[in-house]
Subunit: 467 residues, 2 copies
């Protein structure tokens, strides 16, 4: 599957236009810049970014509206897309929702997983997302056995190739159902998440080969699911490879309580003690941090991935985003459970949820929120220097149709205040064009390779739920 | 202007198809019903609603997807649409935002007001909204003089006619800048909001004539802006006409504090004491209720209009929606400041914000949330029995394209669980068709009368901000 994807990328690249002219482009800061020419080299990176070009030069593709660096979705569980709309009736908590999620996880084989992930990633492409970080734990069969050729991981790689987006596969170590007590034993569908031993996890992950739009990273599911010894081994594997390392951290108070009871410290402190926290590390959620955690995360140079739409949907709560930013933590964003797939809603959700918590507006600068959705995610996922319209960065960008009813009239002449408009008024339906590694993936709101994404989603989800 | 609109409606009605066949329609409850035929009488009301019709009969227009009663936007300040995206930079509170809003309010004349409101209402139509309640306080000129022929009110009526949606004009009494102290005197743009004396307000409102898609109601801006004597007179006027009566109630703690200091009670209690609270009354926001207010509102039979996207944007806070519903208060929804225009986001926001506040999921049944967005709004705005696909109700409905990537795969076979899917996965971009009073306003996602709504919005907003 990997080789086929690589060939397809090369073939499309050869025929693709290499220059795009942007009516407006966001190059950082509060405003957009009029008339920006983007030129792409043979390596799929930006070879030139030239502002002040009044009209499209011959041979350049014209992008009307506001072009942004491609949005980066730093935390995805692709198969959760099959739960959208289906877990909203009746009461409960994160933990009852998890039982519903396990119900779907138990039904997926490599074929269903591929179909669902490809359609989900195509929905991401339509929403302007050019890179996804897949926190991939559904890698074993229902009996807990490894698939031949690691078929579930290969399905994720193939899915990103079909959808045309860049992927960091965060292959996830998951070894136990909880820290202690009867929940420690892997139960039911959790057996699918486990390699049994951390060494088996490392051997499986070593097989995966990177290519120009695929990076391999590691994930520690959580301090619930990975013991301190295994945390050290996974962190060491990532350090040796210079690979990104992610972990779910303090999404729920119960995790903090179990960690404190077993280890006498917070999940952040436990991860720090066992070598996980450094500039390649991303703490996902970080909603319920203990005293001292914010300083610890800030001093480590790590990132935090906020997933506001999921944290709101799952009743997790509101994390301390402004305090984390002030402490020097790099922020990035994820659509996680895909209750919605809309990175701009995630970006404004960071600010809007803090408004609810504090009664104050403006905890975050809109340009910072847009950077979280782009360059912040690229740093977290191991595409250093990406998520920017700058020479040398991957040629990944997307365009908002600023004449769309959502966006019309939301910023001033010449692009003044366009960053705030993109964050607070943008929506997937206003994305017209998407380019990944210098090749067009979406044009005029249509997915060029896959066509009817809604039909692909419906077919994959209906099939997943069929007995 | 009124007469012209009336003629246009009649002319279109005569040529419009009178039967629509819905692939799926929501008739209440958790699920949708397959194969529903809607037949419209000459009065613009539903003459028949027939489930179990397997195929579209000859002459019926086929509506693929999920048809809902038209969404009802029970609280709008149309001109605030010109602020979208433009008030998000820098810090502050509700009160600093209000200064920005006043900046726009000061720039509008009847022509600009009409253009902006018509485009805003057209954006509402594209989002499936078939009825709007306009909380209309910008009725005087910059010097505080009445316009000839009440031109600002006429502009709102004309705007709804151009956009093709049903209107309840809630003409708003506003007499003072605050309850006491130096802020009591009307300052700056506030002079535009005032009729000077409550009797002048009543004389102006008496001039407005209703028609089949226009109802006239009253509004008390707030207990800050209307003294108890005037509250009694406005409430009496509404009671005498059987008209809806709305008021902003406890949006901000400062309002409660000022009310308590001056009158020794909460805004809800003050309104009750002066005859405002009954089944025709709607309290808008009700975010910061005092002890006893919930019981008081519940026992009065009134409604509360929640505006979650605005309350989040303005850092107002999270109101006690589940407790209000449990107390028997009728809930409805408004997009208020139009930070977004998406009634389904308002509906899910009610539930999602309470999840953030409580750490629990499922405080509201999805079918109740969908009723809030439809029949609840119709009751609040004086269209009793409306907002339902039922015989005798106004023939107002909209259709969600369930093959849209947002909605694909979000509910089960035969419409099982479709109410939750509509609330939690619906979006304006998925609205394909909208019918108001039995005439098609939107088809295939296009506004039939106005065409390019984005261009109309951009032109109106650019003009409003131009010196």
């Amino acid at each position: 599957a990997r080789r086929r994807v690589g060939r397809r990328v090369a073939a499309v690249n050869a025929a693709a236009p290499r220059r795009w002219w942007c009516e407006l482009a966001w190059l950082g800061g509060p405003d957009a810049t009029p008339g920006v020419l983007l030129e792409v080299g043979d390596d799929g990176a930006l070879a030139a970014v030239t502002p002040g070009v009044a009209n499209p030069p011959p041979g350049a593709t014209r992008l009307a509206g506001l072009s942004l660096p491609g949005l980066v979705n730093a935390h995805s569980h692709a198969f959760h897309r099959g739960l959208r709309g289906r877990t909203q009736t009746g009461g409960g908590t994160f933990w009852t929702w998890r039982e519903q999620m396990y119900g779907l996880a138990g039904r997926l084989d490599p074929e269903r997983y591929l179909a669902l992930a490809a359609a989900t990633y195509a929905e991401m492409a339509l929403a302007g997302i050019t890179t996804v970080g897949e926190f991939h734990y559904l890698h074993h069969d229902p009996a807990g056995r490894a698939y031949a050729d690691d078929a579930m991981s290969e399905a994720i790689v193939e899915a990103a190739g079909r959808a045309g987006i860049r992927l960091t596969l965060l292959d996830t170590c998951y070894l136990q159902g909880g820290i202690s007590g009867p929940g420690r034993e892997l139960g039911g569908v959790q057996r699918r998440f486990s390699d049994g031993l951390v060494g088996e996890w490392a051997r499986r992950v070593e097989r995966l080969r990177e290519h120009p739009t695929l990076r391999v990273g590691a994930a520690i599911h959580s301090v619930r699911a990975v013991d301190p010894g295994a945390i050290e081994l996974v962190a060491g594997w990532a350090a040796g490879r210079g690979a990104p390392l992610h972990a779910h951290v303090s999404e729920q108070p119960a995790e903090n309580e179990a960690c404190l009871a077993a280890y006498g410290c917070s999940p952040s402190a436990l991860l720090a003690e066992h070598g996980a926290l450094d500039a390649r590390f991303t703490a996902v959620h970080a909603t319920h941090l203990a005293a001292g955690d914010i300083g610890l995360l800030g001093s480590s140079g790590c990132s935090v991935c906020l997933c506001p739409t999921t944290e709101r949907d799952l009743a997790d709560g509101i994390g301390p985003a402004a305090a984390l930013r002030a402490a020097g933590v790099g922020l990035c964003l994820g659509s996680d459970s895909h209750a919605v797939i809309d990175l701009l809603e995630e970006a404004r959700g960071v600010e809007l949820d803090e408004r609810l918590a504090t009664g104050r507006r403006g905890g975050h600068d809109p340009a910072d929120l847009l950077a979280d959705a782009t360059s912040g995610g690229a740093e977290s996922l191991g595409w250093s220097g990406g998520g920017r319209l700058a020479v040398g960065a991957p040629a990944d960008f997307c365009t908002l149709d600023t004449s769309h009813p959502r966006l019309a009239g939301t910023f001033g002449p010449g692009g003044a205040g366009a960053a705030a408009a993109a964050v607070f008024a943008g929506a997937p339906g206003a994305i017209s064009d998407v380019v990944v590694a210098g090749r067009a993936v979406v044009a005029g709101g249509e997915h060029l390779a896959l066509g009817d994404v809604g039909a692909a989603l419906a077919a994959a989800i209906d099939d997943a739920w069929r007995d």
